[in-house]
């Protein structure tokens, strides 16, 4: 490429989304236009897929690696580690709860395999606060030191979770100091108030899982940074969180649990960007499932239900997603003489290109049906042997199931716009019941990677204000300013920073009419 054609000023960003089946990567320019996307299989060793996707992205686009300024990674590593109970580290837990909370001990709702993976060191120590910040009982430091001493040499991280620590974190912070004193400065300590909100068991579970994932995330970040370096990319490295914002890699190393389930969020944000719509349903059809989310005012609608990860209840805010078992690899079965046709819920997954009928395989899949019906043209597809009647029946079932799922996620009886993304979106016909417009944006099959690249950086603040000295409005304004400054400090463009979360808890029994304020602000890089 001649030098003159290359815009001297142009810089790029890479977004990568590692899913269960595919690893998607996207290259965006500084105006956030998509330059190129690639899709590779997610490999056993997940890092190989990441390296391959970057290699192809650079080779196929011809972009100079030195011009890549930012690199973002959204990954399913941590979710997989929990679900498969693999690579988890041993964690010591100190719950600051007694005399309260003793009727439900830590890990009560964990199954034995997960308990075994995380280890036996869980203790309930004296301490805790009331909902208004009053102390229930003081810490017994000798007791805590004893518990920490028992963990010596047997844990790779410590998690601390105190009753009402989101209201008053002092005791948790003190236990962290003691943990460093006894187990060494290098011992990672997860404090529950930094991880979750009210609901002690869910917050405790999330803190324990966070501690157990530290090794996993360290491998991910190291692998990603090494991959980038090996291609001569010297970029700011960011990891995607499940709320659609990014964390710097050094922050991710401390809070891996925040990466859980960032995939659907990335898809919804990518779909919003590609389509230019702010209010729509996003239907993401992959190899195994169809995930439907709601885009409301440009952000994913959050779920109100408790979220389970690997069978453990946590209290994360997750996008409200409805998943149904229909994807490009979903298996279609025909009964005797094509009479009863059934669809899924099982899928050939990443083996589609080997097992699908049109690719010469022996399994009839939803993709075969779509190609047979002319929804999509695939060079060299072998459609001759496919039974047209079976395909039509399967198509009716697939369309009806997707329409039904769309209807479930709608918030009113009016027709809605649907943004179709994901490799499997070729399954869907051009008209659906209850849908005003079907939008199939360019790069629809890499919306997740594009969403990863778009992520915003955030800043947070959490402070107690005395309303005897200022008004409620002044307190909120001060907290918001502080959060905005934190976001700017983290690299956000001031002009784009918005408040994305704001909550206040009155601390009725604290002196001086106290108000605890938490604010999160986010903006573009």
């Amino acid at each position: 490429m001649p030098w003159t054609m290359m815009n001297n000023e142009e810089t790029y960003r890479i977004g990568i989304d590692v899913g269960g089946t595919n690893t998607d990567a996207a290259l965006l320019d500084s105006k956030l236009d998509t330059i190129h996307t690639v899709k590779v299989h997610t490999t056993r060793d997940v890092n190989e897929g990441i390296v391959e996707s970057i290699r192809r992205l650079l080779a196929e686009s011809g972009v100079n690696p030195a011009r890549v300024q930012y690199a973002m990674l959204g990954t399913t590593h941590c979710t997989n580690a929990i679900v498969e109970r693999k690579h988890l580290g041993k964690v010591g837990l100190i719950r600051i709860g007694a005399p309260a909370t003793t009727s439900v001990p830590p890990l009560a709702d964990w199954d034995d395999t997960l308990k075994a993976a995380v280890g036996p060191h869980a203790y309930v120590a004296r301490g805790g606060y009331e909902y208004d910040g009053r102390t229930i009982v003081e810490l017994d430091e000798a007791e805590i030191k004893d518990y920490l001493a028992r963990m010596k040499g047997e844990v790779e991280a410590v998690a601390v979770c105190g009753v009402f620590s989101p209201v008053n974190a002092s005791q948790e912070k003190r236990v962290a100091e003691l943990a460093k004193e006894i187990l060494g400065e290098g011992m990672p300590v997860t404090l529950s108030h930094e991880i979750g909100s009210i609901g002690i068991l869910e917050r405790e579970n999330a803190s324990l899982l966070n501690g157990a994932l530290l090794n996993v995330i360290a491998g991910v970040v190291r692998g990603f940074e090494q991959a980038l370096q090996s291609f001569g990319i010297d970029a700011g490295v960011y990891i995607c969180q499940n709320d659609g914002t990014l964390m710097r890699s050094e922050y991710a190393l401390r809070y891996p649990i925040l990466t859980i389930a960032c995939g659907p969020t990335n898809s919804i944000r990518g779909a919003a960007h590609l389509s230019g719509l702010n209010n729509a349903l996003v239907v993401d059809i992959g190899g195994t499932t169809t995930d439907i989310g709601v885009l409301a005012q440009g952000f994913p609608r959050q779920s109100s239900a408790a979220v389970e990860i690997g069978g453990v209840r946590t209290n994360f805010r997750m996008p409200d997603i409805l998943s149904i078992g229909i994807g490009g690899g979903t298996i279609v079965r025909a009964g005797g003489e094509g009479e009863t046709v059934t669809v899924g819920p099982d899928s050939v997954g990443y083996e589609l290109l080997k097992r699908g009928r049109i690719f010469g395989g022996d399994t009839l899949t939803a993709t075969d049906v779509a190609v047979k019906l002319g929804r999509y043209e695939w060079d060299g597809a072998r459609t001759e042997g496919l039974d047209a009647s079976v395909c039509r029946q399967a198509d009716e079932i697939i369309t009806r199931d997707i329409e039904d799922a769309i209807d479930r996620m709608k918030t009113s009886a009016e027709d809605v716009d649907v943004i179709l993304v994901g490799g499997g979106s070729i399954l869907v016909p051009d008209k659906l019941q209850g849908v005003a417009r079907i939008v199939r944006p360019d790069h629809y099959d890499a919306a997740n990677a594009i969403g990863a690249a778009l992520g915003e950086v955030s800043g947070e603040t959490e402070r107690i204000y005395s309303l005897d000295e200022m008004t409620y409005e002044e307190a909120m304004a001060d907290a918001k300013n502080h959060a905005v400054e934190q976001a700017v400090l983290a690299g956000a463009d001031r002009a784009t920073v918005q408040i994305v979360l704001s909550e206040d808890i009155p601390l009725a029994y604290m002196p001086g009419n106290a108000l605890l304020v938490k604010v999160k602000a986010a903006g573009r890089l």
Partner: protein, 375 residues
């Protein structure tokens, strides 16, 4: 999992399986409120793992002069989800009652079978080695202390005992259930927003006359039906309606939900549009922690104190006022309440007017037959 209920017709002990079933059944009987049974369930499961199954005793098996004590948690469910009770806190109110009355407690019972309080007495029963009674004093869930069948029959709510997790214990004499509610609420705030409480200590004879019998078994049966239907991939709602002598009120999806917090209660209304065969219908559901009133086109479909529950159309699993989401596909079902709630005093205590709905109460059986209910 060992099955300790080998007698197919009779639940005689609560094992882990029974607790799982009761937690779900209690959520159905909780009519959208009553608090999440999750913590109560974990407390009960932990207890059974430690002590083995807890014996269940039927009202008719009680000696007339035995002492039975309801045990429950009072306060904000949000607080209890953070500041989980201590083990001691669950037995201390019993100790205080025994000391005051100078006799031993023969059995504990849930004050309400709906929602979170249904399983709270399990831990005290196991710790003390006494049975839990297969009965409650509501047959559902209600938000205030005087809303019990014992109150309707004029049974003294005192002595009342309460405990927090620090070891603070309270002995209280209230002139009636309304005063108990006022004073206990005030103490609960000082105790940090959640406390254990024993009220309405009753004799075996009083239980036989005034309690709502066999409600833990009922919750168990409901849960069993829902779980088994799920395993067999069958629609559980029909089976459930038969079991509870209930009525399917409406099939539809939530299209509008409005909630507001007033005086510690979640109040609001939800609008549903009919689906499939019921397209064109619109149901309004009014709630104050519990679902209290269902209407359609200026006519009642079901009115408190009859039970109104929302079930997921596919799984039959109960949906609470807090978890109800836009787009949820539901079947609204109604069940007749215990007949004592339909007496003048019952309706004065928990009828529509008490909750601020200026409409007459018409039993669900009559509404279902198309009689009355015009607003």
């Amino acid at each position: 999992m060992a099955n300790n209920n080998t007698d197919q017709n009779k639940l005689t002990a609560l094992d882990e399986q029974a607790v799982q079933y009761i937690a779900v059944g209690a959520a159905v009987l909780g009519t959208g409120g009553g608090g999440d049974p999750h913590i109560g369930k974990l407390m009960a499961l932990e207890t059974i793992r430690k002590y083995g199954p807890v014996r269940l005793v039927r009202p008719e098996e009680l000696e007339d002069d035995s002492l039975v004590v309801p045990l429950s948690m009072i306060g904000a469910p949000t607080v209890m989800n953070e500041k989980i009770p201590s083990i001691e806190q669950m037995t201390q109110p019993l100790d205080l009652i025994e000391k005051e009355l100078g006799r031993k407690v023969s059995a504990v019972m849930p004050i309400e079978v709906g929602g979170g309080n249904s399983l709270v007495p399990v831990i005290a029963a196991a710790e003390r080695g006494i049975p839990i009674l297969d009965a409650d004093a509501m047959g559902r869930a209600f938000p205030e202390s005087q809303m019990v069948t014992f109150y309707l029959d004029g049974i003294d709510c005192s002595p009342i005992t309460m405990a927090d997790e620090r070891g603070n214990g309270v002995l209280m004499h209230a002139i009636d259930g309304v005063w108990e509610e006022r004073m206990a609420r005030a103490l609960t705030i000082q105790m940090g927003g959640s406390a254990s409480i024993c009220d309405y200590p009753v004799s075996g004879a009083q239980v036989k006359k005034s309690a709502v019998p066999h409600t833990l078994t009922l919750a168990y049966e409901i849960g069993k039906t829902l779980f088994e239907s799920k395993e067999q991939k069958q629609n559980p709602i029909e089976a459930l309606l038969k079991q509870l002598h209930g009525y399917a009120l409406f099939n539809g999806k939530a299209v509008d939900i409005r909630r507001r917090t007033e005086g510690g209660f979640t109040r609001g209304e939800a609008v549903f549009e009919g689906t499939d065969a019921e397209k064109g219908r619109t149901m309004r559901l009014y709630f104050q922690n519990e679902f209290l009133l269902a209407t359609e086109d200026g006519r009642s479909l079901a009115v408190t104190p009859d039970l109104i529950s929302l079930l997921d159309q596919d799984t039959g699993m109960p949906i609470t006022t807090e978890n109800l989401k836009y787009g949820a596909r539901v079947t609204a079902v109604g069940f007749p309440c215990d007949p004592r709630w339909r007496t003048p005093k019952g309706l004065e205590t928990v009828g529509p007017k008490y909750f601020g709905y200026d409409i007459p109460y018409v039993p669900i059986e009559e509404l279902a037959a198309g009689k009355g209910g015009n607003l």
